[in-house]
């Protein structure tokens, strides 16, 4: 027993693998998880595959094709159709709202996070606690007053109606992520720069910003996804098609097309393209960004 364990231990180290003592059990414990892993793959991926394959079917084939097989006459016609239906405008609206919102969130959050983590007094800590409470406020609970306020500000049915509350709800988590990161920048570096006569703005620019880059990337990715996919604010705060953003556009395509499922699914796929590209080219950052606030 002792000898065989030692031998196995040596073998293990070579293979970098965890193996139970018995060889036969070993095989089963590799097969069973693998089988479940493949089943879960099917559950996860088949709806997405169906979405993609159907979006390539001509409408006539949609009624006759076998739905789980690849399209018999694949075509991009649905995509062309969707693109001709103001999709470009909705896309541009969404880009505008997302870029401006994320920019505002990041800029105001980095200044606040610097003050909270590097200037520790009663005021900044109270402010921090106030933001932490904000994490618990469901956005849905404030939508009625926000609607009334946006109307009073004459911003109803504009893209700014989406940006202002969107920024407000993006700030608490962004500050939490940035504060936990900036806190860990060694105090000595900060203090020595301060004693050298550097202003806070210079310290922020030349010390804190470069060192907190990973946290900034996390915040940018997380907020981009949040704003890009946001549905309730546009549903309540906009109405006209010229200020429509993508999630709302999907919803209205559904109303227009009803039975033209391939066209709807082409729109669904198109609406996610930026995030899909982000995943293909920056999977690690994207996945890290999704767990923002819980990863550090």
């Amino acid at each position: 027993m002792g000898v065989s364990t030692l031998q196995e231990k040596a073998a293990d180290r070579q293979q970098q693998d965890r193996k139970p003592t018995l060889q036969r059990r070993n095989v089963w414990w590799e097969i069973i998880p693998a089988v479940f892993g493949v089943i879960w793959l099917l559950i996860t991926i088949s709806p997405v595959l169906y979405m993609f394959m159907t979006s390539l079917r001509p409408l006539t084939d949609f009624f006759t094709d076998i739905p789980w097989l690849p399209p018999s006459h694949p075509t991009l016609a649905n995509y062309v159709d969707i693109l001709s239906r103001d999709f470009g405008l909705y896309f541009a609206n969404t880009v505008f709202v997302t870029v401006l919102s994320v920019l505002l969130i990041v800029v105001v959050s980095i200044f606040a996070a610097y003050a909270i983590s590097k200037i520790r007094n009663r005021y900044t800590q109270t402010v921090f606690n106030l933001f932490l409470v904000g994490l618990a406020i469901p956005l849905q609970a404030t939508i009625i007053p926000i609607y009334a306020m946006i109307t009073d500000l004459h911003l109803y049915d504009t893209l700014f109606a989406l940006i202002l509350p969107g920024v407000a709800f993006g700030i608490p988590l962004s500050i939490l992520v940035l504060v936990t990161y900036i806190r860990d920048i060694p105090k000595e570096l900060h203090e020595s720069m301060l004693l050298d006569g550097a202003g806070h703005f210079r310290i922020l620019r030349s010390l804190v910003l470069p060192l907190s880059r990973p946290a900034l990337i996390t915040v940018v990715i997380y907020e981009t996804i949040q704003v890009w996919n946001s549905f309730l604010f546009p549903l309540v705060l906009t109405q006209s098609s010229n200020v429509r953003v993508l999630p709302l556009a999907l919803w209205s395509y559904q109303g227009q097309y009803t039975t033209n499922v391939p066209a709807i699914l082409a729109a669904v796929f198109l609406s996610a393209t930026p995030i899909i590209l982000l995943y293909i080219f920056g999977r690690r950052q994207l996945l890290g960004g999704l767990t923002a606030g819980f990863s550090k």
Binding site: Q16, D17, P20, W29, P33, F36, G37, T44, I45, P47, Y50, I66, P67, V108, A112, Y114, I119, N121, F131, G134, A136, P138, Q140, A141, T142, I143, I144, P145, I146, M149, L164, P165, V167, A168, F169, I171, L194, G199, H200, W228, N229, F231, L232, V236, P247, L250, I264, L265, V268, S271, A272, I275, Y279, R283, L287, L290, T291, F294, S295, K296
Partner: protein, 311 residues
């Protein structure tokens, strides 16, 4: 000598701290302004509106506790509340074990597992609206993938309008919610599982422990902070599921899937009972804040939030 050095420094330090106070106020101001204006003040306005009768056009009239009395005697609201609690419980029971197992599975060293995990995260790339529309087409009774499949394999009797059946619709939407969110929670568990020291498994193996024992005696206890994080997010998240319910069922058939946020939206914006809708919104916020405080108290969420579990 030492006094000579201290003398010029004292005023400089005072200067520094005064400047720091200015910076503290000035630099937190923009974030605070946005946040107070569009998150805190609306919450208080919602409380105020919950004591009024308002259709959104004429002036709001103060009606005291009438909305609140109505809220506690309204059977639809009671039903919506129960559904929301149902969302929490089902989310937790279904998602926690699956996410944990998938997370641990992905944390394995085997090459095929990292290949599989690339695909496991794909649902995270789509918005709730996109996911809702995709599933609506899959579950369509006429040309949907699921019913066509059932008819082909000889189970035509099971085929039905999944989202149109009042007894089923809620559970079907719950299944979609689990499909949507398990990848996210599995990601949390993946991060947690990677932090477990390998030596623990080495030691267990020498003691002759099998994989099942490893799971229950090492992996799950070691993941306790991740379980708390994931549970907290599931519970508080359960209060906010609006998009998916809206796109798939709009609360129907009847009231079968009208969860609290949906009930609030329909009451305020479709039935134009803004006062009563605000009472529901306050109930929702109250729920969210109390839930967070309770979970924080009993689990030390903050301690755990700062624990490193990143990728």
């Amino acid at each position: 000598m030492s006094t000579a050095i201290q003398a010029p420094q004292a005023p400089r330090l005072a200067n520094v701290s005064e400047r720091a106070n200015q910076v503290a106020i000035l630099w937190t101001l923009p974030a605070l302004a946005f946040y107070i204006l569009f998150a805190i003040i609306p919450l208080f306005i919602a409380v105020y509106l919950s004591f009024t009768n308002w259709n959104g056009l004429s002036d709001a009239t103060w009606i005291g506790l009438k909305n609140w009395i109505a809220l506690f005697s309204d059977s639809v609201t009671g039903h919506a509340l129960l559904l929301t609690i149902g969302v929490m419980i089902i989310s937790w029971i279904v998602q926690t074990p699956l996410s944990l197992l998938i997370g641990v599975f992905m944390a394995g060293q085997q090459r095929y597992r990292s290949v599989l995990s690339v695909f496991y995260f794909v649902p995270l790339l789509f918005s709730a609206v996109a996911i809702g529309l995709t599933w609506v087409s899959i579950l369509d009774p006429n040309f949907g993938l699921l019913d066509t499949l059932l008819k082909t394999i000889g189970l035509a009797s099971l085929a039905k309008g999944w989202l149109g059946d009042p007894n089923l619709a809620f559970f079907v939407v719950m299944a979609i919610i689990c499909w949507e969110f398990i990848p996210f929670h599995a990601l949390l568990y993946l991060g947690g599982a990677r932090q477990i020291p390998r030596e623990l498994y080495e030691a267990a193996r020498i003691d002759g422990a099998g994989p099942v024992q490893n799971l229950f005696l090492i992996t799950i206890p070691q993941l306790k902070y991740t379980i708390v994080t994931s549970t907290t997010l599931m519970f508080t998240g359960s209060l906010t599921y609006f998009d998916l319910f809206w796109v798939t069922t709009q609360g129907g058939p009847g009231y079968a899937t009208r969860v609290l946020p949906l009930h609030m939206y329909i009451t305020a914006f479709q039935n134009e009972q803004i006062g009563y809708g605000s009472a529901l919104a306050v109930l929702l916020a109250f729920f969210g804040i109390v839930l967070s405080i309770v979970l924080l108290r009993f689990t030390g969420f903050t301690r755990m939030a700062s624990q490193r579990e990143g990728l």
